[in-house]
Amino acid sequence: MTTIVHYGAGNIRSVQRALERLGEPSVITSDPEVVRKANRLILPGVGSFDAAMQNLKSHGLVEVLRQRVLEEGVPILGICLGLQLFTQSSEEGTEPGLGWIAGATRRFEPIDATMKIPHIGWNEIAIDKTSSLFAGFPDVPSLYFVHSYYVTCEDPSVVVARTTYGQTFVSAIQTGNIHGVQFHPEKSQQIGLQLLANFLGTT
């Protein structure tokens, strides 16, 4: 059973649907009591940084997530905005992030007039093959991105995938029980399902 944290806007049903395809039951919740009992967490993300942090706070989720994840070691996967919330801050807003990863979320800068923002579409990730997230992956994986902001990490050892769009940015992190991906595995067809399955395999 996976607990998908609902903290406002966005299509989180597609995450649930993807898990259903893998035979994994899941519950979508914004109730801290349900999160307190979670054994596996997904923090999906569509929306804006400030609104997301404010929603997490107003639902009383920040503390219970910190406890489950940082103290009790429950595996968590942050997707897109979810990954960005793990950082300390974002150029998108003024709210501090969860701060579980040292680093900041920055806005893409166009390197020329043909570089359009948001970054929308499929793009390659250069992976650390030793990461459990990428078990069974082909050499050149391509997944779906849709974002205007990207994550930077102060500690390169947490970075398990990088992608280039104008700038080279962090596309996946993994440190202990904390996993995060900038792309949308629930929208990346077979390879996305493989990643989700790999995440489900971590206990």
Binding site: G10, N123, L193
Partner: protein
């Protein structure tokens, strides 16, 4: 800057059926969107655009129950449009499976809707869809309400305004070329792409992959969408859901601009989570 070109099937829906038009008229029933979605997912198309073509006229949005059944067939991005005119229209569609929302007449008639959706869901969720045709004076004019209502503006101007209001992407569709398979209107695309810094998807009249490449190279679009090209096959335009192969795409665009695809597993055998 090189990027992967997205090649996107676009399905026009009327209730439970896909319809195909020519110049926004002469609609003909093509088949079930549920089957089509399943096939496009198997073909690994980059995204899927679903537009309900009579929703605005009937004062509603796409029916969530139809969208839900289509969404069940795919694990790729779904752009959904048709009749959206208020922020309250969005949550049921997101719940039913929409990843990104396309607004056309609704955006023109309620411009603050673009900003509202962008503020709540992020600008990457908002696609402003623009239908355009040649105007009497030789330029282009935007027409809303399924091609029935000229609004007195040209598409480049409206696209730029839509970006300012918060749109994350523009879908530009040529009414003149719609359904004709005569080729994209590259001039129309070039006019729009020169005015915006957000991605533009070009649509209307796609005749071949070479045409798609022209749309990118000369028209400046980031992605191409097509209906007829992926729904019909052969001289007699018989219905056959199709999508270019990896070889076709690579030959046309070059390996740098085509996303690598993991070969599709035809037995739908999905990886099992590792048991603890």
């Amino acid at each position: 800057m090189q990027h992967h070109v997205r090649v996107i099937p676009c399905l026009l829906l009327r209730d439970w059926g896909i319809e195909k038009s020519i110049r926004f008229r002469d609609f003909v029933y093509v088949g079930s969107p549920i089957n089509a979605a399943r096939m496009f997912n198997a073909y690994m198309s980059d995204e899927l655009i679903l537009l309900d073509i009579i929703a605005t006229r009937e004062g509603r949005t796409m029916r969530p129950e139809i969208l839900e059944q289509i969404a069940d067939e795919v694990t790729m991005p779904l752009v959904v449009g048709g009749g959206i005119r208020s922020i309250d229209d969005v949550p049921p569609l997101m719940e039913a499976g929409a990843d990104r929302i396309a607004i056309n007449s609704g955006a023109w008639e309620h411009p603050d809707l673009i900003t509202k959706i962008a503020d709540r869901y992020g600008r990457q969720c908002v696609v402003v869809s623009i239908d355009a045709r040649r105007s009497a004076s030789g330029g282009y004019e935007v027409v809303t309400r399924a091609g029935s209502k000229p609004i007195g503006t040209n598409p480049a101007t409206w696209a730029r305004r839509a970006e300012e209001l918060g749109a994350g992407e523009i879908l530009i569709n040529s009414i003149d070329r719609d359904g004709t398979l005569e080729g994209y209107d590259i001039d129309l695309f070039a006019q729009v792409t020169s005015q915006v810094s957000i991605p533009v998807v070009g649509m209307g009249g796609a005749s071949s992959l070479a045409d798609c490449r022209q749309a990118v190279d000369k028209g400046g679009v980031s992605a191409v969408a097509a209906g007829g090209l992926f729904l019909f096959w052969g001289r007699r335009r018989t219905v056959l859901i199709n999508y270019p192969t990896q070889e076709d795409l690579t030959a046309e665009f070059g390996a740098d601009r085509v996303r690598p695809r993991v070969p599709f597993n035809p037995w739908h055998v999905l990886p099992k989570p590792i048991e603890a």
